[in-house]
C-alpha cells in the first residue's frame, strides 16, 4: 500500500464492524466478468456504475466547454473565439451539464445503487426498465453528440423561440431530439423509484424509518414523473415548429413565444429541485454519520422534501418577470417563490442543529457536506433576491443569475455528488481512497468555486449581461478573477478522478462500514453481494440510530 502515512485516517477507525463478506459468494463486481454481463445486466448496482461512467464522461465535456468559455472571457473584446463559436460553447455546456450530468447525477447513480439497499430490497421493482432507461439515456446522448459533431447548436440551453425555431442556422433538431429522449430516461428512473419505494420496502421498514436519502429521492421521482412530460411535449412542438413551421410559438403566424417559456419552465424550474433534492438527501446521510448523532428534526426534514417538490411547481413564472408576462402573474409567482424559503430553511437549520454537540470527524465527505451547506445557503438566498420583483428587473439575465444558479448547481449538487461519491466509494468498490488527497481536493474545490463564482454576483449587479462574448472593458478584472478561480476548480476536479480510480485497484480494502454509519446499506459487505442481502434485512426501529441523540425524553447520552 502506498498510503502508509495516512492509515490512521478515519477509514479503519471502527474495529468492531465485522467484515461480513468472509465466507459468502462473490460480490456484485466479481459475480461475472464478461462485457455482456455489464451491458445487459439488470443488477441495479451495475446499472448505477454504467450511469456513473456515462455522466462522468459528460461532466468532462461540460467542464471542458466551461473552461473554454472562461478562457474566452479573459479578454473583453472576444478575440479568442468567434461569437458563433462562443455561443455554441456555452450552449453545449448548458445542455450537457443540465440534462446529461446534473439531472441524472445523483438519482441515476447513488439512487440506483442505494435505494434498494437502504430499504432492504433485492433490486428495483423493474430491473429491465432500469437497464432500458440507461439505453434511452445513451440514445439521447447520441443525438446530442451528433448535433455537436455536425457543428453544434447556438440557441442556449433554454431553446427560446423564435430564435430556436426560425432564426438559428445550427443543428437544433438533433439536439432537441436528444433532450426529448433523455427525458424519457428520467421518467423511467423516477417511475422505478416511486414504485420501488412504495412496494419493495423490507418488512418493518415503515416510511418514518427510511433514510432521508430515500425521502428526497421519492420527492425527486415525483418531479420526474409530473414535470418531464410537459417539457417533452414542449420540445415535440418545438421540433414540429422547426421542421414543419406549425407556428404555435411563431409570432409571424400569431403564435405566442411566451407560451413556450411557460411550458419550458413548468419543467425546468422543478428540474432545479431534481438537482437539489437528491443532494440534500446525500447531505442528510453524511452529516449524522460524521457527527455520530441522530439527524435533528427527522420528520420535518422528510416533510420538507415533499414540500419542496410540491411548492416548486408554483413558482416557474419567476423566470419571466420581464419577459412579457402579465403583472398580476408576476406578483403571484413572486410571492409563491418566497414560500420555497420555508422548506429550505428547515433543511439547513436541522443540519446545523445535528452538528451541535455531536462528535465530529472532519473527513472528506464531511468537508464536502459543510461546503455544501454554506454554498447552498448563499445560492438559496440569492434566489430570493431574484424572486424580488424590483431586484429581478435589474439583475435578470445578468451574471448575478449565472452566479446564483452555479451556487445551487455546483455549490449544491456537484459538492453533494462529490461528497456522496467519497462517502459511498468504499461501498461501491470495496476500496478506500487516500484520505489526505480527498481533503486537499475538497478544500481546493471550495476555494476555486468561490473565487470563480463570487465575482459574478458583483459583475451581475454591475450590469454585465450573461451570454456576452464581447463585454465592456471595465468588467475585465472581475472576469479574469473568475477565470483564475476556474483553474483552481479544474485542479480540484481532476484530483478525485485520479485517486478514486487509483483506489479501485490499489486502495486499501474497505470494511463493510468504514464510517461507523447507520443504515441498511452499511450492514452488507463492501462491495455488496450480487443480490444485496444474504439474510433477511432487519429494519432499524429508529432511523439514524447514532450514539448521540437529542430527545424529548431528556435521557442522557454519551
Amino acid at each position: 500500500m502506498t498510503s502508509g502515512t495516512i492509515t490512521d485516517g478515519p477509514a479503519l477507525r471502527d474495529p468492531h464492524t465485522p467484515d461480513s463478506r468472509i465466507g459468502h459468494g462473490p460480490d456484485y463486481l466479481h459475480a461475472e466478468h464478461t462485457l455482456r454481463s455489464w451491458f445487459f445486466t439488470t443488477d441495479h448496482k451495475r446499472i448505477a456504475l454504467l450511469y456513473l461512467a456515462s455522466i462522468t464522461a459528460f461532466f468532462v465535456i461540460g467542464a471542458v466547454t466551461a473552461g473554454l468559455v472562461r478562457l474566452a472571457l479573459v479578454v473583453p473584446d472576444g478575440q479568442v473565439f468567434t461569437n458563433d463559436t462562443y455561443n455554441k460553447l456555452f450552449t453545449i455546456h448548458g445542455v450537457v451539464m443540465v440534462w446529461f450530468f446534473l439531472i441524472p447525477s445523483i438519482p441515476a447513480t447513488f439512487g440506483n445503487f442505494l435505494i434498494p439497499l437502504m430499504i432492504g430490497a433485492r433490486d428495483l421493482a423493474f430491473p429491465k426498465l432500469n437497464l432500458a432507461s440507461w439505453y434511452v439515456f445513451m440514445t439521447g446522448a447520441f443525438f446530442t453528440l451528433v448535433s455537436v459533431v455536425l457543428g453544434g447548436v447556438d440557441t442556449g440551453w433554454t431553446f427560446y423561440t423564435p430564435l430556436s425555431t426560425a432564426f438559428s442556422n445550427t443543428w437544433v433538431v438533433p439536439a432537441l431530439i436528444g433532450v426529448t429522449i433523455v427525458g424519457f430516461s428520467s421518467i423511467l428512473t423516477g417511475l422505478n423509484f416511486v414504485v420501488t419505494i412504495h412496494t419493495m420496502r423490507a418488512p418493518g421498514m415503515t416510511w418514518f424509518r427510511l433514510p432521508i436519502f430515500v425521502w428526497t429521492h421519492y420527492a425527486t421521482s415525483l418531479i420526474f414523473l409530473l414535470a418531464t412530460p410537459v417539457i417533452t411535449v414542449a420540445l415535440v412542438l418545438l421540433i414540429a415548429e422547426r421542421a414543419f413551421h406549425i407556428g404555435v410559438f411563431d409570432p409571424a403566424y400569431g403564435g405566442d413565444p411566451v407560451l413556450f417559456q411557460h411550458l419550458f419552465w413548468f419543467y425546468s424550474h422543478p428540474a432545479v429541485y431534481i438537482m437539489v433534492l437528491p443532494g440534500m438527501g446525500v447531505i442528510s446521510e453524511i452529516v449524522p454519520a460524521f457527527a455520530q448523532k441522530k439527524l435533528f428534526g427527522y420528520r420535518f426534514v422528510a416533510y420538507a422534501a415533499i414540500g419542496l417538490a410540491s411548492v416548486t411547481f408554483f413558482v416557474w413564472g419567476h423566470h419571466m418577470f420581464v419577459n412579457g408576462q402579465s403583472d398580476l402573474a408576476s406578483v403571484a409567482f413572486s410571492v409563491l417563490s418566497f414560500a420555497v424559503a420555508v422548506p429550505s430553511a428547515v433543511k439547513v437549520y436541522n443540519w446545523t442543529a445535528t452538528i451541535h454537540k455531536g462528535s465530529l470527524k472532519l473527513d472528506t465527505p464531511m468537508l464536502y457536506a459543510m461546503g455544501y451547506i454554506g454554498l447552498f445557503v448563499l445560492g438559496g438566498l440569492t434566489g430570493l433576491y431574484l424572486a424580488t420583483l424590483a431586484i429581478n428587473q435589474h439583475v435578470h439575465a445578468t451574471y448575478f443569475v449565472v452566479a446564483h444558479f452555479h451556487y445551487i448547481m455546483v455549490g449544491g449538487t456537484v459538492l453533494a455528488f462529490l461528497g456522496g461519491l467519497h462517502f459511498w466509494w468504499p461501498k461501491f468498490t470495496g476500496r478506500m481512497y487516500i484520505e489526505a488527497w480527498g481533503r486537499i481536493s475538497a478544500v481546493l474545490i471550495f476555494i476555486g468555486f468561490n473565487v470563480t463564482f463570487f465575482p459574478q454576483f458583483i459583475l451581475g449587479y454591475l450590469g454585465m449581461p450573461r451570454r456576452y462574448h464581447v463585454y465592456p472593458a471595465e468588467f475585465q478584472f472581475l472576469n479574469i478573477l473568475s477565470s483564475a478561480g476556474s483553474t483552481i476548480l479544474a485542479v480540484g476536479y481532476i484530483f478525485p478522478m485520479i485517486y478514486l480510480v487509483y483506489a479501485i485497484w490499489f486502495g486499501k480494502r474497505a470494511p463493510a462500514n468504514p464510517w461507523d454509519a447507520r443504515g441498511l446499506e452499511w450492514t452488507v459487505a463492501s462491495p455488496p453481494p450480487a443480490h444485496n442481502f444474504l439474510t433477511e434485512p432487519q429494519a432499524p426501529k429508529v432511523p439514524y440510530d447514532y450514539p448521540i441523540q437529542a430527545r424529548e425524553t431528556g435521557r442522557q447520552h454519551s
Binding site: N83, A166, H356, S359, T388
Partner: protein
Amino acid sequence: MNPTDLALRLWPPAASATAVETDWLILAFTVLTLLLTVPVFVAITWFAIRYRQGEPADRSHGTIRSVLIEISWMLIPFLLTLIFFVWGARLFFISKQAPGDAMVIEAIGRQWMWKFQHPTGQSEINDLHLPIGQPIKIRMISQDVIHNLYFPVFRMQMATLPDRYTEMWFKPDRTGTYRLYCSEYCGTDHSRMDGTLTLMTQADYAAWLQNAGAQQGGQAGAGRAIYESYACGTCHDPGAKVRAPSLAGLYGREVRLADGRIVTADEAYLRDKILNPNRQKLAADYKQVMPAFRNVIPTDDLDRLVAYLKSGRATAQQEASP
C-alpha cells in the same frame, strides 16, 4: 464620464430615484441575508472545532421542544423575507405605471441593433440621448427574435417581443454616459447589441435634437409619407373608387364589427388591422378586400403609419379633400 474610466468598479452608478431605491432594497436584503446566514456559518465552524471527535466537551442533551424550534425557524425567516417581497412588488408597480406626461421613445430591437426614435422624429441606432428631469416611457417591439432592453443605470429592463408592444418608464436625474444592452440572448452577435445611453440636461437635449436633425416633422409627418407610398388612400380616402372605411378620426372611436361586437379603435386595433385585416375584426358593412401587410411593411414604417393615423392630421387632411 467615460464608462471605462475605472478598471475595477464594485457598485454601478444610479441615475433615477427608482434605481437608488432598488439599491437600498438590495442592501437591506443583504443585511437580512447576513443576519440569517452568518450565525449558521459561525455555528458550523464553531461546532466543528468545539465538538470534534476526541475533544472533551459536554455532549449531553436535555429535553428539546423540537416542534417549537422547527416552526420558529420555518416562519421567522419567511416572514422577514416577505417584507422584501412587498417592498419589491411596490417598486415594481411604480415602475409599471408611467406618468401621463412621459415623453415617449419608440424602440425597435432587431438582430443585432437597437433603433430609437424620438417624439420629434429623430432616430438613432444603438445610442440613445435623453433629457434628465423628465419621465420617459419607452415603447418597444422586436422585428425578429425576443430581445431585452436593459439600462443598468436605471436598474431596469424589459423584453421586446416580436408580436406586441412592451413598455418601461423611468425618470433620469443625473447626467452622464452609461451603457445599455440587449440582455436576452438573441443569436450570434448578441453581445454586440449594446450601446451608449447619454443623459443630458433639457437644454443640451434640445440642442442635440436640433443638430441631430434627422427627419423633421416627427413620427406622424413621416407617417404621412408612408401613407402615400403604400397608396392607402386609393381605398381609404373619401371618394375613392373602392369603398373602404374612412380613417378620418378613426383613432379612439368605437367601431362596430361584423359579428356585432363593439371595439375601440386603439393603437393595437389599428396595428392589427393593417398587418392582418382579415383576422377577426371585420368592420360591419364592409367587405373583406384589404391585403394583409404582415411581412410587407417594416415595423418602423408601421409605427409611423399608426402615429399618422393617431394624429389629428389624418382627419384634417381627409376632411379637406372633397
